[in-house]
């Protein structure tokens, strides 16, 4: 083969090899190998049938977290980490330029949404939902802040939130 022919063959082999590699990696999912996208907290999540108060409380907590995150314009996951410890809450407030009052208001809005979600899913008796909403609306902002500040963790926070109404919930579980 002439030098020109060998050169042409070399370039053709290079093109085929390169395209074969790129296309095979694309076919194997190379374009979509990335972390899972988190769900928009403003969109409702499906509720599972709770087996006892603990599961109801957990789903209620997650729903409230979604509601609060939606209000603050952050992901549920970001807010969950922010509420893990007082130090992480302070970092979150500084990073997003939020006051404790704004965070507390958002958490209260989240709790109200959790009641709505639980009622809509049939996990909470409507007879309980109305007084629970009224109770949550009456929680003063400073108490909400204190509730957040005293919370050891995300779950404890929501267990604390459920404290005043916890007995009622147990009685009215479907």
């Amino acid at each position: 083969m002439s030098s020109r022919g060998r050169g042409g063959a070399l370039v053709a082999v290079a093109i085929v090899a390169s395209l074969a590699l790129i296309l095979s990696y694309l076919a194997a999912g190379g374009a979509s190998y990335e972390p899972a996208k988190v769900q928009d907290p403003c969109k409702p999540r499906p509720w599972h049938e709770p087996e006892g108060l603990e599961q109801l409380a957990e789903q209620f907590s997650l729903s409230a977290l979604d509601g609060a995150a939606c209000k603050l314009g952050v992901s549920r996951e970001t807010l969950a980490r922010a509420l893990a410890t007082p130090a992480s809450r302070d970092r979150f407030a500084r990073r997003y330029g939020l006051s404790e009052a704004e965070i507390a208001r958002a958490v209260r809005a989240g709790l109200l949404r959790a009641v709505d979600d639980a009622e809509r899913a049939g996990a909470l008796n409507p007879l309980l939902a109305a007084p629970l909403r009224a109770t949550l609306r009456r929680i003063p902002i400073d108490q909400a802040i204190e509730l957040i500040q005293n919370a050891e963790s995300l779950l404890n926070s929501f267990q604390s939130f459920l404290g005043p109404a916890g007995g009622l919930i147990e009685q009215f579980l479907p």
Partner: protein, 456 residues
């Protein structure tokens, strides 16, 4: 060839390979330097950038100096400066000292490499062969650099990379000293030389672009393996040795494979294809980096030697034109690193955030005991705060595992799901930078294509 030039030829080839290996030899040591000297990713990149930038800036002036004082003297002085600065690098305790010593190392290296090109024709008997030896030694050194650096980092320390070079540089300088003593009688074979004066702009432009792409491949792959996938330096060295092995194969088949232009085009296409593959890795698996590495390795051997020969053969003085190719190559590496560093550091930060969100979602939705979930969330948060700016490790956050078999299985599954998200984040963080590298390789095809029509 007489017996006398053989050790001299070996010494000259080693000198070129040693100096040009320095452009990439610290790549695998960067994570360790990063941790020991307590700096940032952008800061540690300057250990590489400074050397390449100074090489790019001083290569042509160094070549002029070599011609003025004599190539033998220039090569001996250059190697001595390179060795001395290498010792200073190895003893550096601060990043600024290390970067300053790297700059001095590049000064000596530039003088040695360009002077060697002036000495080689007299040693091997022909300009064409001299250029081939010089280009092959340079490409081999640049390709082998990361693997050798990784082995030394793992087996000894990052400092040993520089300290080991000093005696090798001195040993290479000894046969050159004999030339320096008889400098006036050194005869450069002049029959093949044709005075053109101007550098080959298109070949040098292509060299710069393709060197930037190759630097991206080496630098980013090493960071992905060590910082993203948490391989040890020796593990990463073994993995990235696929690239120099393929380059050695490419160097063997290259000269028989066609014209310089065809080899340059095929090489640039292979480098582009390999980088494209690295940008589209479908899983965090080292085996999947091998096919792209083989393409990049074959490509770099073809394209670097072909473009260097195009830029040098038939042009005089050799040292000056060699200086231009060194300048183009190292400018490409430096510009590639400077341009890509902010891109991938920003992408790592973004992907870190996405990975943490994805991981938190998995923890929140996991079917594990809520109190255990809470403990895990707090431990993971602690890990994340301890590893700001990096892709975090979270494995230790799951220790000790629960004693209850059911909980243990749930926690192990949760750990695997979280690790998968981190692997995805680390891999995806490098994709845009590999993609940019591929684009640089593709752009190199423009001057290579134009070189047929315009003989600059």
């Amino acid at each position: 060839m007489s017996a006398a030039p053989r050790p001299r030829l070996a010494a000259l080839a080693i000198a070129v390979g040693l100096v040009l290996a320095d452009s990439s030899i610290v790549v695998l040591a960067l994570p360790q330097i990063y941790r020991e000297l307590d700096t940032s990713v952008a800061g540690v990149t300057w250990v590489l950038v400074s050397f390449n930038l100074v090489m790019a800036l001083v290569a042509v002036p160094a070549a002029h100096l070599a011609r003025r004082i004599g190539p033998g003297r220039a090569a001996a002085i250059g190697l001595a400066v390179f060795a001395g600065a290498g010792i200073a690098c190895g003893l550096a305790e601060h990043l600024s000292t290390l970067i300053a010593a790297r700059c001095v190392q590049a000064l000596g290296g530039a003088m040695a490499v360009t002077a060697v090109l002036e000495l080689l024709p007299a040693t091997v008997g022909s300009e064409r062969r001299a250029v081939a030896v010089w280009a092959t030694a340079g490409a081999t050194g640049a390709a082998l650099g990361p693997a050798v650096g990784g082995l030394l980092t793992e087996l000894v320390s990052w400092q040993s990379i520089f300290l080991v070079q000093a005696p090798i540089a001195i040993a290479a300088a000894i046969p050159v000293l004999a030339v320096a003593r008889h400098e006036a009688s050194t005869a450069i074979v002049s029959a093949e030389l044709r005075r053109t004066g101007r550098p080959h702009l298109l070949a040098n432009a292509a060299l710069a672009l393709v060197s930037a792409a190759i630097a991206a491949a080496l630098f980013l792959l090493v960071l992905l393996l060590i910082e993203g996938w948490r391989l040890s330096p020796i593990g990463a060295a073994v993995v990235v040795s696929a690239m120099p092995l393929a380059a050695l194969l490419g160097a063997r088949i290259g000269p028989r494979a066609g014209s310089e232009r065809a080899r340059a085009a095929a090489g640039a296409i292979l480098v582009t294809g390999g980088l494209g593959g690295l940008a589209l890795l479908p899983k965090a698996n080292v085996a999947l980096t091998l096919p792209p590495q083989i393409l990049v390795g074959l490509g770099l051997a073809l394209v670097l030697s072909a473009l260097t020969e195009t830029a040098l053969i038939g042009r005089a003085p050799q040292a000056i034109h060699g200086g231009w190719t060194i300048s183009a190559r190292h400018a490409g590496v430096a510009i590639g690193l400077i341009a890509l560093t902010p891109v991938f550091t920003a992408d790592i930060a973004n992907q870190r955030h996405d990975a943490i969100d994805a991981g938190t979602a998995i923890v929140l939705d996991a079917r594990v005991d809520p109190l255990l979930k809470l403990q895990l969330a707090q431990r993971i948060e602690d890990r994340l705060e301890g590893e700001r700016g990096k892709v975090p490790t979270i494995g230790s956050a799951f220790e000790p595992l629960p004693s209850d078999p059911g909980d243990r299985a749930d926690v192990i599954r949760l750990r695997e799901e979280l690790q998968d998200q981190l692997d995805r984040a680390a891999t995806h963080a490098f994709s845009p930078s590999f993609g940019l590298g591929a684009l640089l390789g593709l752009l190199a095809l423009i001057p290579i294509g134009l070189a047929r029509r315009v003989d600059l």
